[in-house]
């Protein structure tokens, strides 16, 4: 069943011999690759919005409700005082009508039973007093002109009345004189008019009071309604503008804690305190990412340092061959035949190329480059890594064996970073096998075919149970000061998680350790760049 593919090209004898194999599926987690929104863009977008702070909005809202309440109080007070004034006036008007009616009663008695007129005059006088006192109020209701005619009528009535007693009358019931009859007619007319006007006044006032009451009743209700609406608006506003972004921020922090550093983008049109918070958080994430990259670089430099020792050593062989060959050519140039010369020159060329190849791998790895997400065959990346570490592997006397499942889908990621991850796992495995041993690298597809699993199985010292949790912590190392930095696994996990994958570990002390790197299978590349939304949106 197992078929062998030819070993990796190049001089590295340590590169694994891959064995094709089907089956053996590791578990898989399901984390999506997160979309990359550049931090600067997000920050600029947050800053560009027009500024409208929640504080200002809240204060405006509360000020508005305060003003409303104040207005309601003032309006009600005004109305009530108006009504009180009206009521007072209505009373006066009623009194006035009453006085006039009394006066007319005396007047009637005077004509019918020839009683004394003084009663009538007295009532007219008190009516005059009322008019004098309430003149302004009355004028306000019926207008100055109406008031003037009213006073005119009253004056005329009064003067008519006062003219009556001047006429002589006999003790026995004398017949009315014609003058008297004339005055009587005028009096009747005037009196009727005065009563009509007074009654009209009362009626009008009553109406006005009624209508005022009718108005003043719904006013507080209306105010209350507006206030309630305002309160509802404020409440929804607070929950919408304060609580919901708060919830989203909470979701965002949860997401950040899981290592997703996609910058926050708020969906509001204006800038407020939450935009500031979002900007602060974006800045924080930017810094975290920056520090993380710094760690990645630090670790990479350390790895390059480790590899350089091996490369320097490996480089010695071709250089030695070149120097030996070139010196001999120089020494024996005269004696050597053409064929021998050619053979030596060919050796020179081949060895130079070998030296170039040894250095190029490391240079490729060491070169600083932008993160470039591309689809890769895992096998190639692993082979590249093994070539890179070939000297270390040789020095450590470790046998590397590769098992690869057929038809592995490509994965999506940054080649250099993935090499860094694999390299660290290989170097760790070598460190764990100081007396030599075997490193088995198995590439397979996860059960759901969402992930490619890369397993590094060593026969080293293993990891004690109590350390299994800690090994991924930055700066956790069990190695001597100069050897270990404790950055390898934490940096590797960071890289793999940013690729949407995960690293698992199983270990048995004294038997060996297996690290499994799960990398998501590449879908259509266009999808992956912008597929996922932030989980909080």
């Amino acid at each position: 069943m197992n078929s062998r593919t030819p070993p990796a090209p190049g001089h590295a004898p340590a590169s694994a011999v891959w064995t094709a194999r089907a089956g053996a599926q590791p578990p898989a987690s399901s984390r999506a690759v997160s979309a990359e929104v550049s931090p600067d863009e997000a920050q600029a977008a947050l800053q560009e919005r027009p500024s409208l702070s929640i504080r200002r909005q809240l204060s405006v809202g509360f000020l508005l409700s305060l003003l409303l309440t104040l207005a309601l109080a003032i309006v009600s007070m005004l109305m009530i005082s108006r009504i009180i004034a009206k009521l007072a006036f209505l009373e006066a008007a009623t009194n006035y009508t009453f006085e006039i009616q009394e006066a007319r009663r005396y007047e009637k008695n005077y004509f019918l039973y020839h009683t004394d007129l003084s009663g009538a005059l007295e009532h007219v006088r008190s009516a005059r007093r009322i008019l004098d006192e309430e003149g302004r109020n009355i004028a306000a209701v019926i207008g100055q002109a109406g008031f003037d005619t009213m006073t005119g009528h009253l004056k005329a009535y009064e003067s008519l009345l006062s003219r009556l007693p001047k006429m002589d009358r006999g003790p026995a019931a004398p017949r009315e004189t014609s003058a008297e009859t004339q005055i009587e007619g005028q009096l009747r007319e005037q009196g009727a008019q005065i009563v009509a006007v007074a009654e009209d006044l009362v009626w009008k006032e009553r109406n006005s009071v009624n209508s005022m009451l009718a108005i003043s009743q719904p006013v507080p209700v209306a105010f209350l309604g507006i206030l309630i609406l305002l309160m509802v608006y404020l409440a929804t506003f607070i929950s919408k503008r304060v609580l919901s972004p708060l919830n989203r921020m909470m979701a965002a922090t949860r997401r950040i804690a899981q290592g997703d550093f996609t910058p926050l983008v708020l969906r509001r049109k204006y800038r407020d305190e939450f935009s500031e918070l979002a900007m602060a958080m974006n800045h924080m994430m930017h810094q975290v990412v920056y520090r993380q990259e710094l760690l990645v670089t630090t670790h990479k430099l350390k790895a390059v340092g480790t590899l350089t020792a091996g490369v320097a050593h490996e480089l010695n062989n071709p250089i030695n061959n070149i120097i030996l060959t070139a010196s001999l050519l120089q020494e024996d140039f005269q004696e050597l035949d053409r064929e021998k010369c050619l053979e030596m020159i060919n050796d020179l060329v081949a060895e130079s190329e070998r030296a170039q190849k040894i250095v190029r791998n490391l240079l490729d790895f060491a070169r600083e480059s932008e993160v470039e997400l591309e689809s890769h065959q895992v096998q190639q990346v692993v082979e590249e890594t093994l070539r890179l570490a070939s000297n270390q592997i040789k020095l450590a006397k470790v046998k590397v064996e590769g098992i690869v499942e057929e038809h592995l889908p490509p994965i999506y990621g940054d080649r250099q970073q993935l090499e860094q991850v694999f390299l660290n796992l290989v170097l760790n495995a070598l460190d764990a096998m100081p007396e030599g041993g075997a490193l088995r690298i198995k590439l397979s597809n996860s059960e759901d075919r969402e992930f490619v699993a890369v397993q590094f199985e060593d026969t080293g010292i293993g990891i004690p149970k109590q350390h299994l949790r800690e090994i991924f912590d930055p700066f956790f190392t069990s190695k001597k000061a100069a050897k270990g930095t404790g950055l390898g696994l934490s940096v590797s996990l960071g890289i793999v998680q940013r690729h949407g994958g995960d690293i698992r570990v199983e270990s048995e002390v004294g038997k060996g350790t297996t690290f499994t790197v799960l990398l998501p299978v590449a879908k259509v590349p266009a999808n992956i760049g912008n597929s996922s939304e932030a989980p909080d949106s």
């Binding site: 062989n317 030695n320 061959n321 030996l324 040789k394």
Partner: protein, 209 residues
């Protein structure tokens, strides 16, 4: 003129290693680059003391083996000292073998070249070699193991180790175990010839150059 210079250089390589060993034992980073002033002097004196100790140990070991050889007569190895110097070159780099064969045989040295330490050791059991030039780092069997075999079985054979990447510990081990000298990669044919010459002289050959 030039040749003499090279001879000196070849001789000092040994001392070079001894100094490194001494420094390492003094607890200093290799070669003590960071030392200054009087400290350098102190450390260097210390280092030189160590060198003397290791040297005398080595000479003592050589003397003992000489005595043993004189008394014991037949070792495993056949007839020491032929007419011509016999040299075995053991290196897993085929080009090294080819070139050294070329460079030494034109000097009138009998050269046998091996790439595989096993067959080399097997051959050591069959034939006598005056000098074994072996690479330090090889798969399966390394230079020190070859050295151990030679010191155990071939009393009159000098071992020259070719090193590319030797730690101080390994160097000390090799020197104490009786390597004749080191030669560091990369080297020129005449560097090796100088060291072989030295070995030949110590075996009683007249100079080969």
């Amino acid at each position: 003129m030039e040749k003499k210079e090279h001879k000196e250089k070849a001789t000092t390589q040994f001392d070079d290693w001894m100094i490194r060993i001494a420094f390492a034992e003094a607890g200093e980073p290799e070669m003590g680059f960071r030392l200054t002033g009087s400290e350098i002097e102190r450390k260097t004196r210390l280092a030189l003391d160590k060198i003397m100790v290791v040297r005398s140990e080595r000479q003592k070991a050589e003397g003992e083996s000489e005595v043993a050889a004189n008394l014991g007569g037949e070792g495993v190895a056949a007839e020491p000292r032929g007419e011509r110097l016999r040299v075995m070159v053991l290196d897993d780099e085929p080009i090294v073998g080819r070139r050294l064969h070329q460079a030494l045989s034109k000097q009138g040295i009998e050269v046998e070249v091996f790439e595989d330490p096993r067959s080399a050791i097997a051959r050591l059991g069959e034939a006598h070699f005056d000098v074994v030039v072996t690479d330090f780092r090889m798969e399966e069997i390394n230079g020190v193991q070859v050295l151990e075999y030679v010191t155990a079985h071939c009393k009159h054979t000098r071992v020259i180790l070719i090193t590319g990447y030797a730690t101080v510990e390994v160097a000390r081990e090799a020197l104490v175990k009786g390597a004749f000298d080191f030669i560091a990669k990369p080297f020129k044919p005449r560097d090796l010839r100088a060291v072989i010459n030295k070995a030949a002289l110590s075996l009683g050959f007249t100079t080969i150059e």
